[in-house]
């Protein structure tokens, strides 16, 4: 019985991780942390869209910028679709110089921030499953 409960918990954590990756903030929403989920969604979407606006969708380049792409894909699976689009017509979407640089910074940092949120959502789910409290590292919370 305990083994089944543990398996259910692992499955639940997997669902949270996948949801949090698919839609930024969705993992926290599943855990009934609505304020956190809204803040995460708005922040990550805005940062990602600023990156795309500044550098165009050409900053998502799975062929020539693999390391950046790894960070960018942590935003959402939609990035993979954009990567497929840009790699199918590289000459059309190619971007150089400062806009490329700034766009890659924004989109990649948005992805890494979403990775942090995914890990946090899974950790919160684990704490809930183990009936533990939210950790408080210091009085101010940070």
């Amino acid at each position: 019985m305990a083994q089944r409960s543990e398996a259910n918990n692992v499955g639940f954590l997997m669902v949270i991780a996948i949801l949090a990756w698919a839609v930024p903030g969705a993992g926290h929403y599943m855990l009934k942390e609505k304020k956190r989920s809204i803040i995460i969604f708005v922040t990550i979407v805005i940062v990602f869209l600023i990156g795309l606006y500044v550098g165009s969708i050409g900053v998502i380049n799975p062929i020539d910028s693999k390391a950046w792409y790894l960070a960018q894909i942590m935003n959402s699976p939609i990035v993979a679709a954009l990567g497929h689009l840009t790699s199918s017509a590289p000459e059309k979407y190619r971007v150089f110089g400062r806009p490329n640089e700034i766009g890659q910074y924004y989109t990649s940092i948005a992805g890494l921030l979403n990775l942090l949120c995914i890990i946090n959502a899974v950790y919160l789910g684990h704490l809930r499953g183990s009936n533990l409290e939210y950790p408080t590292p210091c009085k101010s919370g940070g």
Binding site: K35, R36, I39, I40, T43, I44, I46, V47, I50, L52, Y53, V54, G55, S56, I57, G58, Y93, V95, R98, P99, N100, I102, G103, Y105, Y106, I109, A110, L113, L116, C117, N120, Y134, P135, T136, P137, S140, G141, G142
Partner: protein, 83 residues
């Protein structure tokens, strides 16, 4: 496709023109605020508007101040070693 939709689509297909001038460093600020927001949203045990904004402002300010100190230090080092 409507004119508005075409305009939005074009905004994400054509890159902006950003020069390598000192003003372009201001693009750092939204990124700093975003990092502070996400860090605090994952760290604070309870989120209330006032305390959250206060924490984000303090963290964003700290990051900007430390980046400025590092920039001034590097500038001074380069100036001393090349002049």
């Amino acid at each position: 496709m409507s004119l508005m939709a075409s305009f939005v689509r074009a905004s994400f297909i054509v890159p902006e023109n950003i020069g390598t001038n000192p003003q372009s460093m201001l693009l750092l600020l939204p990124l700093v605020v975003a990092i502070a927001v996400i860090y605090k949203v994952t760290k604070m045990p309870k989120i209330t508007a006032v305390s959250f904004i206060k924490e984000v402002v303090i963290l964003s300010g700290s990051i900007v101040i430390f980046i400025t100190i590092i920039a001034i230090t590097l500038f001074a080092f380069i100036w001393l070693t090349t002049e």
